[in-house]
């Protein structure tokens, strides 16, 4: 089969992959995006809280908070069509077990320069459960709309090729290029390879250089979509900073997502590549080096709804109802270095040295830090 040649080859059609494709196409490069799934945005970009981070989540890492706040505005302007703004995002600090109390949270918001108006905790929460509640400015994005918008944009450029059902099977060096082979047997040649595969980031790196990798803790995560009562429709609730939960609008879908720090991760792996028992059961679908899609997998865990709903019910007043609709699963890689201060920096690794073809890997826990890539895409 003939070898196709591109200026930029991107692995993974999530938000980081598509953003990079459009960025490079604008500069006149020929771009090809390889996506394992039959469509874009089926994994982490879709299966998460859909939070456009303003920084509230990081009261123990002011740097991350301020960076998030800066990107927040830019993201909301660029992708306004997929952003839901018309709801009240409430952050509350738990009376017990929180690493941050109401006073600290407030002074943190002031330092970071982000909105934080104190409201009565008893409006949403049971007596004594939260020592402070704050109305904040934070939005949610709709992954499906974002996907459609980004695909529309990629379509405008004749120099972008999107290839679905294309799992990378091998990568090797040939002179000054990388040759990538995919599951359909096609070969792609490039001098600039971008690895934007999130949970599979180490799997791709090991195809090039088995010595290198990100230090990652993998979590098999469950996001629960809920129907909420009318009183909660225009409200998002997040209790922090510790083993708590969040119940907030899920993009423009009309559903709320329910997640919890303790129960959302079902299983944890500290291996180089996600090492979970369920992968053995799933066999070919999730074979070594080619992580399957947890959400489509028939061996996904039993829902933690019983746990998550009880945790939320313990805090939220009984007049606010929420009921189970469905669960979404995904694999979430967390940089080991960010566990202590709970920061989630965007990690970008340039594997190639001077004079070599470019090979860059990106790993980020948030969508609105996508702009961090600009300086690397050249």
């Amino acid at each position: 089969m003939q070898r196709q040649k591109y200026d930029r080859l991107i692995i993974g059609a999530g938000i980081y992959g598509l953003y990079s494709a459009i960025y490079c196409a604008k500069k006149g490069y020929s771009v090809c995006v390889l996506e394992k799934e039959p469509e874009a945005f089926t994994r982490a970009t879709f299966v998460n809280q859909a939070r456009v981070h303003m920084g509230y989540h990081y009261p123990r890492s002011l740097a991350t908070a301020m960076k998030s706040a800066g990107y927040f505005r830019r993201f909301c302007e660029d992708y306004e069509y997929c952003i839901k703004k018309d709801f009240n995002q409430i952050y509350a600090t738990s009376t017990n077990f929180s690493w941050t109390d109401a006073k600290q949270f407030k002074s943190f918001c002031e330092a970071a320069g982000i909105r934080c108006e104190e409201i009565s905790a008893s409006r949403f929460f049971k007596e004594g459960m939260c020592d402070g509640a704050f109305l904040t400015e934070e939005y949610t994005y709709d992954a499906k709309l974002l996907r459609d918008g980004m695909l529309l944009e990629t379509g405008k450029y004749g120099n972008i090729v999107l290839k679905y059902n294309s799992a990378v099977t091998a990568i090797h060096r040939e002179n000054d290029s990388y040759i990538v082979t995919d599951s359909s047997g096609c070969e792609y040649e490039t001098v600039f390879l971008l690895n934007a595969t999130y949970a599979s980031v180490n799997e791709i790196i090991s195809k090039v250089n088995p010595e290198e990798c990100f230090g990652i803790k993998y979590e098999l995560c469950e996001i629960i979509l809920c129907d909420v009562s009318d009183e909660l429709k225009a409200t998002g609730l997040t209790v922090m900073d510790g083993p708590f939960f969040s119940l907030m609008p899920f993009g423009l879908t009309g559903d709320h997502s329910l997640t919890s720090v303790t129960f959302t991760p079902h299983d944890v792996s500290y291996d180089r590549e996600p090492g979970f028992d369920c992968r053995n059961k799933a066999g070919e679908y999730c074979r070594k080096g080619e992580l399957g899609n947890c959400d489509f997998c028939s061996f996904k865990p039993v829902s933690a709804w019983e746990y998550m709903s009880r945790l939320a019910r313990k805090y939220i007043k009984d007049e606010y109802g929420f009921t189970y609709k469905k669960s979404l699963f995904s694999m979430k890689p967390i940089l080991k270095s960010s566990e202590v201060d709970d920061s989630r920096p965007t990690a970008i690794k340039v594997h190639s040295g001077d004079g070599e073809p470019n090979f860059i890997s990106v790993l980020s826990g948030k969508i609105n830090t996508v702009y961090d890539l600009d300086e690397y895409l050249g």
Partner: protein
Amino acid sequence: MEKKFVSVVVYLYNDEKNIEEFISTVLPEVQNSFEHYEAIFVDDKSDDKTIERLKEGVSNGRYTGMISIVKMENYQGLEASMNAGRDIAIGDFVYEFDTCIVNYDAGMITESFELLSKGNDIVTVSDSKGGRLSSRMFYGIFNTYSKSHGNICTETFRIVSRRAINRIKSMGDYIPYRKAVYAACGLNTKRLYYTATGGKKIKKEKQTYERMTLAMDSFIYFTNFLERVSTILSLFFLVSTVGLLIYALVDYIKNKSAIEGWTSLICFISFGFFGIFLLLTILLKYMSTMINLIFKKQNYLVSSIEKVGHEK
């Protein structure tokens, strides 16, 4: 099987010898009786192999519930640790095991729940022959002078409803002595007794000093025992000084036999002491009110929470 979700909160302190039996006796019983459960083991900074034994005990994959360990930052005693465990629990009902020594039939666990579902919010389970003499004396005085109508005694474990937990939360943030707070919350309480099997005694090492301090605190906080004693004492002295004053005056008027200046000196001293005892009585009242203000913040320190087993 009950469609309820229960939490099992267990206190651990140097329990390497007892933990395995607890896991293999109590957890299967809970698992068979309830559709969903979680087990929260609160480790009060044990310095033996308790944690290792615990992890071994739950690693066989037989337990379907979420099992987690709350590790206390340093040794903080039974009450603070169990408060932490209960605060993290999410169940509709919470079992509080103050010890992981099992000297009862596992069926008691279900039995206590059944009694709870008959309109009670707190069910306590006690060894019918349990409790040392000193404990029984303490409970005797405590129950006599307690401000609440509920009585307390040596308890092996108890089950409380979410309603009871919410109620005690609204009574104040600080819970120095759980039993006493449950007894004072005004909800229905029932007690079950069992006869200890296997001849095992529930013994609490290292806790003697801590329990004595707690006993003293509880007397101050939950009973008016000390307040009464001190009021009586200061009243006694108040009356005595007034008596002395009267005696001095009468003595002066009647026989005028006293040495020059004696009467005025006694009058002055009596008057001064009268003032001091009066002030003391007022101060005592102030202090009892201030106790309520000081005991406001929940004070335990947790170092981490670790998930060791879960529903797959």
